[in-house]
């Protein structure tokens, strides 16, 4: 046993930590096409090692078979703590814990991200683990059977047993008719039951290849040393084929789509107004982040102030700009108080939007947005885990790592006129899905 830890305590003086706010990074490619990004920050003795794969809920299994949804998320479960040629079954989490590490993974409709954080003296160990699961994970029926049950429980816990838990499912399936954003990220359970081992293995060989991944190492590292180690551990991962996606394009919505849905976990209904807006790399997507802050960020925001605080017609109101690569989902929702009808809430919300279409937002509100943007930016680079995630995200999905520092400049360049124009162009009643989300009586 060599895994014990001695702890020695001493006192010293520490100078103030001052770090420029710019996030510095270095990037390079391995010969197999794997892109690597390094970020050095020695203020805390920790290191995050991660990789992001350009594969998400929109990429169906069985060669884009519509009866194979939920593959990317299922894969996250398989690979998050898997056996490999050199890591026996059931050992992943334990050997990581023995080095003081922790980790997780998450999946969106666009990408899957895996990351682990350790005390920084375990950098090499972290690289070994991650390269193990990319090189030769053991994907077998046994692992699939266990995770199949676990994923079903996750769906029940996170969606089916939760008030308003079907919100995103209903919105997506009505907002998207042909694009795979219409599918549930977690998938249909029947599809997962029917999926075969061969389909899962093929999915791995297709998507978990160097040209479809980015590796990120952030924290208390030495750049040149880390470069050497990354080369050693990741170079053997074989190249894959180029992935070609040709998702059908959605036709613009020109007539309001009315939907009614029922949820057994609620007593109070909700109204959801959902719009399809440009994907997150587009300038309009940045504008809609600002629109959301303007509408529902804080007690002085327009929708909250008017509908919740002054008129007391709603318990809750929110405007969400859910970022996705091909199309964003823009949703405004409200939960009424007392006997207020949903149509009345819709009317109140529309009044605020119409005002934004007809007038420029006030100078003062525009300045407020600048402060909110700055605060959000500062919060977004507060930990090495956040920075690692952001670096991978900007490289893989935006094609530009520099955005980690430059995104704030894009926000700052947006004018009041552009905000007005975007609201005018995209937030009209005939361009949306109106969902009446109602309580369902128990049988």
């Amino acid at each position: 046993m060599n895994k014990g830890l001695f702890i020695l305590v001493t006192f010293v003086l520490l100078g103030y930590i001052t770090v420029a706010q710019k996030v510095e990074f270095e990037q390079f490619d391995l010969k197999n096409g794997l892109h690597v990004i390094l970020h050095q920050d020695n203020t805390a003795p920790i290191v995050t090692v991660g990789f992001m794969a350009d594969v998400g809920g929109k990429d169906l299994g069985g060669n884009n078979n519509p009866d194979r949804t939920g593959f990317a998320h299922f894969f996250e479960h398989l690979l998050a703590s898997c056996a490999t040629e050199n890591i026996p079954k059931g050992q992943w989490a334990q050997i990581r814990a023995l080095r003081g590490g922790q980790g997780n993974a998450d999946t969106t409709l666009d990408r899957t991200y895996y990351y682990q954080t350790f005390p920084s003296n375990n950098l090499e160990f972290a690289l070994w683990m991650d390269s193990e699961r990319l090189l030769h994970p053991i994907i077998n029926q046994d692992a699939i059977d266990t995770q199949n049950e676990v994923v079903k429980e996750e769906k029940r816990e996170s969606y089916d047993n939760k008030p308003y838990g079907q919100f995103l499912f209903v919105t997506n399936e009505n907002l998207f008719k042909v694009h795979p954003y219409k599918y549930k990220n977690i998938g249909e359970m029947a599809h997962l039951d029917a999926a075969t081992l061969e389909e899962f293995q093929a999915y791995f060989s297709k998507y978990y290849v160097p040209n479809n991944l980015v590796v990120v190492v952030a924290g208390d590292i030495d750049i040149s040393e880390t470069k050497k180690l990354v080369k050693q551990y990741y170079s053997a991962i074989p190249k894959g084929k180029k992935i070609v996606r040709d998702f059908p394009k959605e036709k613009p919505i020109t007539q309001t789509i009315n939907v009614t849905t029922y949820d057994a976990n609620i007593e109070i209904p909700a109204i959801i107004l959902a719009y399809r807006t440009p994907g997150f790399t587009e300038r309009d997507a940045y504008i809609f982040d600002m629109v959301s802050s303007y509408l529902s960020d804080g007690k002085s925001s327009k929708l909250y102030k008017k509908i919740v605080d002054d008129k007391k017609m709603a318990l809750e109101v929110g405007a969400i700009n859910l970022g996705q690569k091909d199309y964003n989902l823009y949703a405004i929702y409200a939960i009424p108080t007392g006997k207020i009808e949903l149509d009345k809430l819709t009317k109140e919300i529309d009044e605020v939007i119409i005002k934004m279409q007809n007038e420029l937002i006030a100078e003062k509100d525009y300045e407020k947005l600048q402060n909110i943007i700055e605060t959000n930016y500062v919060d977004s680079i507060a930990s090495v885990e956040d920075i690692a995630n952001a670096l991978a995200h900007f490289y893989l999905l935006y094609g530009d790592v520099n955005l980690i520092n430059d995104q704030i400049k894009i926000y700052r360049s947006i004018t009041r006129e552009e905000i007005q124009a975007a609201v005018k162009k995209f937030l009209n009643p005939n361009q949306r899905v109106e969902i009446k989300y109602l309580p369902k009586a128990n049988e």
Partner: protein, 471 residues
């Protein structure tokens, strides 16, 4: 400024160089142990008794103000909800700034401010740090309480109850606390429509005067501030905060006793597609207790994470759940041990049996050396990783003060964790995880789960979603 450095050394102190030939079958060895720097705060006390701890850190241009007032929690009884209304009404204007102006300015700065009935929290960009502190202090010292806001907030809380009426998780949490501590106890009582209609704005004001006393208060300041400047600002803005004329010292009632024999306390919710299971008992556990490290590790072995007995059994072996964990938090008065899982209806009874099995496992068998080493290393690793966030570092300093711990408590902390033996773990589990005197609170769909629960042989009592017994 003083700092403590904790050095973490692994027994094997060899740094393996980079080999030309990579042997993937061997785990790379750790490098030399990193040094962990624990910043100690600069401190001062105002003449009104307010104690201030400043953690200067200029890494990011932001600042956090965290106010904690160390009051003994009060029983609210038939008027339960006064404290909830106090939290909601604070931070909505002051005697000299209207609610709208106050909220507008907080939002304008991109900052945030919120209050509890015994404290407050504000954060924002350092360029606005002085103004944020000024507004926070004004909200604390000269709060604006008016009838219109009182009525609005109260109505909202009543609606909120309805909003959560069918939320299995909310019902489970409420019933569990009510049964474990008793509804006569501050940790067990909960708001109802009736209790919210039992009090006036005057009650809120009384509670404010009683709770917001600078003598018991700690203001923790973290971030991009200059100590000298901030000291002057605190003096300027919090200096006029007056001590309460008469200090009411609450006495804590005794919690409900644990049950003589383990029972299931069942709440029927026909909409549930999963059962929410919590096995629990109350216990006494303080941060300063000698056996505290042993209990932390015992809990970690049982259900501290994905290497815990519960997770490995209920998720990885049986696939009953997305996750199963246990927890026990230290408390000056009384603590609660809890082991929980949310499972599909059909395996509810099997999950109960497996949770009990795992608690018996840790109580009756010595933890094996690898599991013990894993739990310690994981706990220590989590602790080290958490220190990246200066809020967590500040919390350690505050813990020492609030719990009257020795000043070197955290210097020896990891060492004490590391010394825990298998015997200590077993002893701690037997003392605190009282599986034979536990309530197993289950909220689920009766028509699908009760029949099998009866077969477990554990006596079942029935309750409504507000913890009232049903015959």
């Amino acid at each position: 400024m003083k700092t403590k450095i904790l050095t973490l050394l692994s027994i094997l102190f060899i740094f393996t160089g980079i080999h030309a030939q990579l042997d993937r079958s061997k785990q790379p060895k750790p490098g030399p142990a990193p040094k962990i720097q624990l910043q100690t705060p600069a401190e001062f006390t105002l003449s009104n008794g307010l104690k201030v701890l400043v953690f200067e850190n200029h890494k990011l241009p932001r600042v956090i103000y965290d106010l904690t007032i160390d009051n003994v929690p009060a029983v609210e009884g038939e008027k339960k909800g006064v404290s909830d209304l106090l939290s909601a009404l604070l931070g909505n204007g002051t005697k000299s700034i209207s609610k709208d102006d106050f909220n507008e300015e907080i939002d304008f700065m991109g900052s945030n401010i919120s209050f509890s009935s015994s404290g407050g929290f504000a954060y924002g960009l350092s360029k606005y740090s002085e103004r944020i502190m000024q507004l926070m202090a004004d909200a604390v010292i000269n709060p604006l309480f008016d009838e219109t806001e009182f009525k609005k907030e109260k109505d909202q809380q009543i609606e909120q109850l309805k909003l959560n009426e069918k939320d299995v998780e909310v019902v489970a949490a409420r019933v569990a606390l009510a049964l474990a501590y008793g509804t006569h106890h501050p940790s067990g009582e909960f708001v109802t429509q009736k209790s919210l209609n039992n009090f006036t704005l005057d009650d809120v004001n009384k509670l404010y005067l009683q709770n917001f006393n600078p003598e018991n208060a700690y203001l923790v300041i973290i971030g991009d501030v200059d100590f000298n400047a901030v000291e002057e600002q605190v003096q300027n803005y919090f200096g006029s905060w007056k001590k309460s004329p008469s200090i009411v010292s609450n006495t804590m009632p005794s919690e409900s006793p644990n049950v003589q024999r383990t029972e299931i306390d069942f709440v029927d919710m026909p909409n549930a597609v999963q059962s929410n299971i919590s096995l629990m008992n109350t216990t006494k556990l303080k941060m300063g207790d000698t056996e505290y490290p042993a209990i932390l590790i015992a809990n970690h072995v049982l259900g501290g994470g994905i290497n815990g007995y519960l997770f490995k059994n209920l998720r990885e072996k049986h696939g009953y759940t997305y996750g199963s964990y246990s927890g026990v938090n230290p408390n000056k008065y009384v603590s609660r041990f809890k082991a929980n899982a949310e499972v599909r209806n059909v395996v509810t009874d099997s999950a109960v049996v497996q949770i009990i099995n795992e608690i018996n496992h840790i109580r009756n068998e010595d933890v094996d050396q690898t599991d013990l080493a894993t739990a310690k290393a994981e706990y220590i690793g989590n602790f080290v990783l958490s220190l990246e966030d200066s809020q967590n570092v500040a919390q350690l300093a505050l813990n020492v003060k609030l719990n009257n711990l020795p000043p070197d408590y955290y210097e020896t902390y990891l060492e004490r964790i590391n010394k825990v033996t298998a015997e200590d773990v077993k002893k701690a589990a037997n003392a605190h995880f009282k599986v034979d005197n536990a309530r197993i609170v289950i909220v689920g769909k009766g028509s699908e789960v009760l029949e099998n629960l009866v077969k477990t042989g554990i006596p079942i009592k029935h309750f409504d979603p507000y913890a009232n017994p049903i015959k």
